[in-house]
């Protein structure tokens, strides 16, 4: 039976008036699909495709300036024209939601128990005692260790994965018929993502409910969904059962999405990007061999970094974030650093750049770069070194100054370091670099907010390149990007490396991406390097249990069940 039926849904946002005419931005342009009982439907698309807006319009959890039209039938009842009071009865009870960021979805001032009990007391009219018991059951169900004790815990006392479990427990508390999960694993590490995916699949089977699972990653979706919907630019491009979508995708866009994710079983020199695929171009397959005897640009020996943690009134405790890291980085090579959040991989990268404030904690070891130890340089000596080692950060929305035009952003480093004889020459150089990272000349006078995430990351790369660095630290530089955009940026990084002989330190939690770009891989856990080997070795024969776990956590897309064949 059909649980939810969406027919020709259109959602537009009012964007204020220009010359007295109301401006509308249409996010969803006529989408129709059905969700049957006891199925998992996945809604896939890049950011800006309208997938979240579609899902949120079911319960009208949209901003005030949104306008919906079309039909949303919940068991035959039209939800578009249902008054808010009635919708509130549905929210949480019949249709529950789990959001992307559990840290922001939980109220920090209430205990987990209080937040779990709220829907029970409100919707099921339970007594407090009964609600607490039910809450505990829910926590058991989502696999929370020590559920009774966790009821009295505050959200900040839980890890990201545990918080997401609490969110799911909250959603399940009233036994809804439909669970809307909006990118529930995107903010989590790969290993935690795996656990949460398994949990959602298990709960779906057990309660025989339906799940609307929203994700930008077809790999994740393939593992969990029965039906797949692919959206782009507010239009549904393709829908069908998961087997067919993976085995025989009809739409060029779906095919491209499937092709652009770095895979573990084959390692091309370049990833296929959406536009290439749609245009019918194939990515070249022959990787350019690297010189194993290239000169060593950076040698790190016994690097340690600690942070002071306040302890008691005046005391402080040393927290060892990075312990005894050793590696050599050769010109034109890439060192991949993998680990879960909190493993010290970012701290390691930032220590090399000395971007930690001095009073945060002691640092020891050696990082020999151009004959000098980076870790003991004075401020004056550090300035020329900054030219030679540069960084690109994770969040493309935060790493560019919103009040600077792209031109200003690119000229600033050259002004500081006196690169280029005069402004005209610098400007020319900045424009060349913009071309090199694949942006057109008009970008020069624009502001960061006019660009998409992938474009901003290209700008951030261009800014790092203005200084002609030898080493580039890429701190989760593609983690915040959609799979399709990620492929473009990864290709760009490879091209730049081939052309300019850059050495990369590539920090990421995604082994598939690290494997694609790296020559050597460091696997870090709790500040310690647990495994260090070439990318092929790590993949083919991981020695440590932790590495194996990281490998197993990579989403592999849809795989037909071997036992299912009669």
């Amino acid at each position: 039976m059909t649980l939810l039926s969406i027919q020709d849904l259109r959602v537009a946002f009012r964007m204020g008036k220009v010359n007295g005419v109301l401006q509308r931005a249409e996010a969803v342009k006529g989408v129709s699909f059905d969700i049957a009982e006891n199925t998992t439907v996945a809604l896939v698309g890049e950011s800006g495709s309208g997938k979240s807006v579609t899902a949120m319009s079911v319960l009208n959890l949209l901003p005030d300036n949104a306008e919906r039209s079309g039909k949303i039938l919940w068991q035959g009842k039209d939800l578009v024209h249902t008054p808010l009071a009635e919708l509130q009865h549905l929210r949480g009870k019949e249709i529950a939601c789990v959001f992307q960021d559990p840290m922001q979805s939980l109220n920090p001032v209430f205990t987990v128990g209080a937040q779990l009990c709220e829907p029970l007391i409100k919707h099921l009219k339970m007594s407090r005692r009964a609600a607490l018991e039910r809450a505990e059951q829910c926590l058991v169900e989502v696999g929370m260790p020590e559920p009774r004790r966790r009821l009295a815990a505050y959200p900040h006392e839980l890890s990201g994965g545990q918080q997401q479990r609490v969110m799911i427990a909250m959603a399940l508390a009233c036994e809804p018929k439909l669970l809307i999960a909006d990118e529930p694993t995107t903010a989590l590490d790969a290993t935690i993502q795996r656990q949460i995916l398994e949990l959602i699949a298990e709960i779906q089977r057990k309660h025989r409910m339906s799940v609307l699972f929203i994700s930008h990653d077809l790999g994740v979706v393939g593992e969990i969904a029965d039906q797949v919907l692919v959206m782009r630019h507010g239009i549904l491009r393709e829908q069908g059962p998961v087997e067919r979508i993976f085995a025989d995708p009809q739409d060029a866009y779906t095919q491209a999405l499937l092709a652009c994710r770095p895979a573990l079983d084959k390692n091309p020199a370049r990833l296929t990007v959406i536009d290439d695929h749609i245009a019918g171009r194939q990515a070249q397959q022959a990787p350019k061999p690297k010189d194993p005897h290239a000169p060593v640009v950076l040698e790190v020996k016994a690097l340690n970094k600690s942070f002071w943690i306040k302890h008691g009134l005046f005391g402080r405790r040393e927290f060892k974030a990075v312990q005894n890291v050793n590696f050599q980085l050769r010109k034109g090579h890439t060192l991949g650093v993998v680990g879960e959040s909190g493993s010290g991989k970012t701290t390691m990268g930032l220590s090399l750049l000395r971007l930690h404030e001095a009073n945060t904690g002691p640092m020891s070891g050696e990082a020999i770069f151009g004959g000098k130890n980076l870790l003991t340089l004075t401020d004056r000596e550090r300035q020329p070194m900054r030219r030679r080692i540069q960084v690109v950060f994770q969040n493309p929305y935060a790493s560019l100054n919103p009040r600077f035009t792209i031109g200003q952003t690119l000229l600033e480093p050259m002004d500081i370091h006196g690169i280029g004889a005069d402004t005209t020459e610098r400007e020319g150089r900045a424009r060349t670099l913009l071309g090199k990272v694949g942006l057109d000349d008009k970008a020069f006078g624009k502001y960061p907010h006019e660009f998409s995430g992938g474009q901003r990351q290209r700008i951030a790369i261009a800014r790092a390149l203005t200084l002609n660095p030898e080493v580039l630290v890429l701190d989760e530089a593609v983690s915040a990007l959609d799979v399709s955009v990620q492929a473009q940026v990864l290709n760009l990084l490879k091209d730049l490396q081939d052309e300019l002989g850059l050495a990369y330190i590539f920090i990421s939690h995604d082994l598939a991406v690290v494997r694609f770009i790296s020559d050597e891989v460091l696997v870090m856990k709790e500040g310690i390097v647990v495994e260090q080997a070439s990318a092929e070795q790590i993949l083919a024969a991981p020695r440590e249990a932790y590495t194996q776990r990281l490998l197993a956590a990579i989403p592999r897309g849809y795989r037909p069940m071997p036992a299912a064949t009669p």
Partner: protein
């Protein structure tokens, strides 16, 4: 800094709409905000005219009769009481007993050599007169100049102090932050009016003093806000990126972070202007404000207190109307400005 970067680009590149342009575009759509801005600009023009002596130059001249009523009320009727009845009968000749009688004629002759002119004082004035017969309208205009000048200058001083200290405290934290927090706490611990009295007692009266007093006591709120913004921004990735390319501490603080928090400063400053105008009025009313030979809305209100008992309400009304119109318009303009500078509110109108 920005100017240096911009100059050579202007010729070759079409620049996209900047943050300030976009804000101005949104501001223009806000009718109330725009009307308020027009009123504020009109006041500012009035102040410029008053400062250059084009209007209200002779506000100290006693042009009307004492407590002349406003024109629209009409002249005061001649006073009925105190008119003594003229006695009937012939005049008494006192020359026999008046020792000065022989000299009257001589004095009259000498007086006739000098020109005397009877100044005819106006019975009514456009907005009435004060107890010396000074024009209340001129006083109000001159008072506007002083009051607004004090408000704006004091707000500038307070903003400068608050922004600088807040930026230092927020950006560096640690010992610098601790010291500035201590300073802030000392200022906050003393009741505001007491602090103002203390400063006033040390510096004496005068416009400059009022500006200094209000500026030195009013920075603390802005300081906290700027500090929190700097703490928030200093660990943002764009600031870190700037550090990675080797931008100096000052460049990170003032060319990177400050423009991104400037809307907070701007809005806070305009709130301060309104507050300081009111504070100046209170100070002058208490006799701690501008000097005796100056006029401000505050001194006018202080004078109005005694006049009101005699039924002379016009000075009170004039000062109140001027102040109310300006302060309301300025507040509404600030409000519209805040909306225009906050792109998150877009589309919700």
């Amino acid at each position: 800094m920005t100017a240096v970067i911009n100059a050579p680009l202007a010729a070759t590149v079409e620049r996209s709409e900047g943050v300030w342009h976009a804000a101005w575009r949104r501001f223009k759509m806000d009718r109330i905000g725009l009307t308020s801005a027009v009123i504020v600009v009109a006041f500012l023009l009035l102040i410029v005219f008053a400062a250059t002596g084009l209007v209200a130059k002779n506000w100290q001249e006693e042009v009307g009769v004492a407590n002349a009523p406003p024109t629209f009320v009409g002249p005061r009727p001649p006073e009925a009481i105190g008119v003594i009845e003229v006695p009937k009968g012939p005049n008494v000749d006192l020359s026999a007993i008046d020792p000065l009688a022989p000299r009257y004629k001589e004095w009259d002759e000498r007086a006739a050599k000098f020109k005397t002119e009877e100044v005819i004082k106006a019975e009514t004035l456009p907005m009435g007169g004060d107890r010396f017969g000074r024009d209340v309208l001129s006083k109000a205009i001159k008072g506007t100049q002083v009051s607004v000048f004090v408000g704006v200058m004091a707000a500038l001083v307070a903003t400068l102090i608050g922004t600088l200290l807040g930026a230092l405290s927020g950006f560096f934290g640690g010992k610098v932050g601790d010291f500035l927090e201590w300073l802030y706490n000392v200022f906050e611990a003393i009741p505001g009016i007491l602090l103002i009295f203390a400063f006033a007692a040390v510096f004496g009266r005068g416009i400059g003093t009022v500006v200094l007093i209000l500026g030195l006591t009013g920075w603390s709120g802005l300081y906290r806000q700027v500090r929190s913004e700097f703490i928030k921004h200093r660990s943002r990735e764009y600031v870190r990126s700037a550090e990675a390319i080797g931008a100096s501490v000052w460049s990170r603080m003032f060319t990177h972070i400050l423009p991104n928090v400037s809307h907070v400063v701007l809005v806070r400053m305009s709130i301060l202007v309104v507050g300081f105008i009111k504070a100046e009025v209170i100070l002058s009313y208490l006799g701690l404000g501008v000097g005796v030979d100056d006029v401000s809305w505050g001194t006018m209100l202080a004078e109005a207190q005694s006049e009101l008992i005699l039924g002379h309400w016009w000075q009170l009304v004039a000062a109140t109307v001027f102040m109310a119109v300006f302060v309301t318009a300025f507040s509404l303009m600030t409000d519209a400005l805040r909306d225009a500078l906050d792109p998150k509110l877009r589309g919700l109108e």
